[in-house]
Amino acid sequence: MVGKNCFAIASDRRLGVNLQTVATDFQRIFKIHDKLFVGLSGLGSDAQTLYQRLVFRHKLYQLREERDMKPETFASLVSAILYEKRFGPYFCQPVIAGLGNDDKPFICTMDFIGAKELAKDFVVAGSASESLYGACEALFKPDMEPDELSEVVSQALLASVDRDCLSGWGGHIYIVTPDEVREKILKGRMD
């Protein structure tokens, strides 16, 4: 979700196999560089593999261009990598969030074969995505400060995953401003 010169990216912490919960501390949001984060929902192993591929490509880019990737460029990269596997896809929906030039927040999401969806306010992905759309729509206000933004995102996330059997067991949220990255673990319902 986008705020005033900042953004927040959040996920739940459950790793499960159908109805069985296997882990409650699974990391789904990964840092590409200080101002670029990607969250990967969907199949756990594809999320980890895709993350490793993206970090590899970004490091090569850093070596060649001697700078960090812009979020818009990164989104195009993710889209291309996903479409490469059009007929044997990664079962992942990425959520990309970053601060671009002049620290302007950029967010986008994609389906699992790379269709980009840009938004100015918020993007969601996962098994509780319909709930999340509703909750975010209801709670979002433009130009929120980081503290208010983190509160809104936490409430939206926890409310939505409490209506989904396959999500929850805690929450993980990163609030990124031009100066710092704040990481918080949310206490949620453990059922």
């Binding site: 069985q20 919960t21 699974f26 098994s127 059997c165 990481e183 059922d191």
Partner: protein, 290 residues
């Protein structure tokens, strides 16, 4: 004796092929009766002859048919007998596929003041048939001037469910009560099965509940210990199973009837059993850069 003799004889005849697979391994009499030599089958009522579907993969087809009729029972309920009576415990989540439709469903149904039934499977099915059972139990009391036994009540329900077998009812219930013979516990399901036992757990969360229940069970527990065991078992099932959650209710059935002991939100139970220790934030599994 006659039966065996006839079957042995008939096997040696070359049978007209009414079935589409090799029956030589089966001891069922269904394949024998029908158009085989009539003098051998005189005096026997023909066993139901099944017409089998023409498929290449008979076993697969059977499995598919069973799965179609069997909606998943997303819940956790348990009941066990101990020295002072019966403990009945359940969660309170109703799920429709992945969506949680309610976190506050009453899954322990009060049939009458000394008998409880648990709900697993189709909510409407369980609610209706338990109420129906309550009516029949009351009628029994009025006609016979004495309370119905748990054995009798569970048999009534099992017979009703058996007559609707195959029609898509989904009921996995436990009937727990106290009658003249002491505590009674029966498991009854919509396939028509009825089992007497001392420990049962039903639903998608039952494997997790069994783990805690079986390892912590002792016949000589006090009421508080038994209630805590039931509560813990439900809590652990809600933690691991996605389709269970909400509130863990615990009821106790004793000589004076049932009593609701507690209804705790499982989230609060989690933080009670595993309090958050306020040190630095727990390190999640970090992706290690290879």
């Amino acid at each position: 004796m006659n039966n065996c003799f006839c079957i042995l004889l008939s096997r040696n005849l070359s049978l007209p092929k009414i079935m589409k697979f090799d029956t030589s391994g089966l001891e069922s009499t269904a394949s024998v009766f029908g158009t085989a030599g009539s003098e051998l089958v005189d005096g026997f009522s023909a066993a139901p002859a099944f017409e089998l579907p023409t498929t290449t993969d008979f076993d697969g087809f059977q499995k598919e048919a069973v799965q179609m009729v069997k909606p998943a029972k997303g819940t956790t309920t348990l009941a066990f007998i101990f020295k002072d009576g019966v403990i009945v415990a359940a969660d309170s989540r109703a799920s429709m596929g992945g969506y949680i439709s309610s976190q506050s469903v009453k899954k322990i149904i009060e049939i009458n003041p000394y008998m409880l039934g648990t709900m697993a499977g189709g909510a409407a099915d369980c609610q209706f048939w338990h109420r129906n059972l309550g009516i029949k139990c009351r009628l029994h009391e009025l006609t016979n001037k004495r309370r119905i036994s748990v054995t009798g009540a569970s048999k009534l329900l099992a017979n009703i469910l058996f007559s609707y077998r195959g029609m898509g009812l989904s009921v996995g219930t436990m009937i727990a009560g106290w009658d003249e013979t002491g505590p009674g516990l029966y498991y009854v399901d919509s396939e028509g099965g009825r089992l007497k036992g001392t420990r049962f757990s039903v639903g998608s969360g039952s494997p997790y509940a069994y783990g805690v229940l079986d390892s912590g069970y002792r016949a000589d527990m006090s009421i508080e210990e038994a209630a805590e065991l039931g509560r813990r078992a439900i809590y652990h099932a809600t933690f691991r199973d996605g389709a269970s959650g909400g509130v863990a209710s615990v009821y106790y059935v004793g000589p004076d009837g049932w009593k609701k002991l507690s209804g705790d939100d499982v989230s609060e139970l989690h933080y009670k059993y595993y309090p958050v220790v306020s040190t630095e934030a727990p390190e999640p599994d970090r992706m290690v850069e290879a």
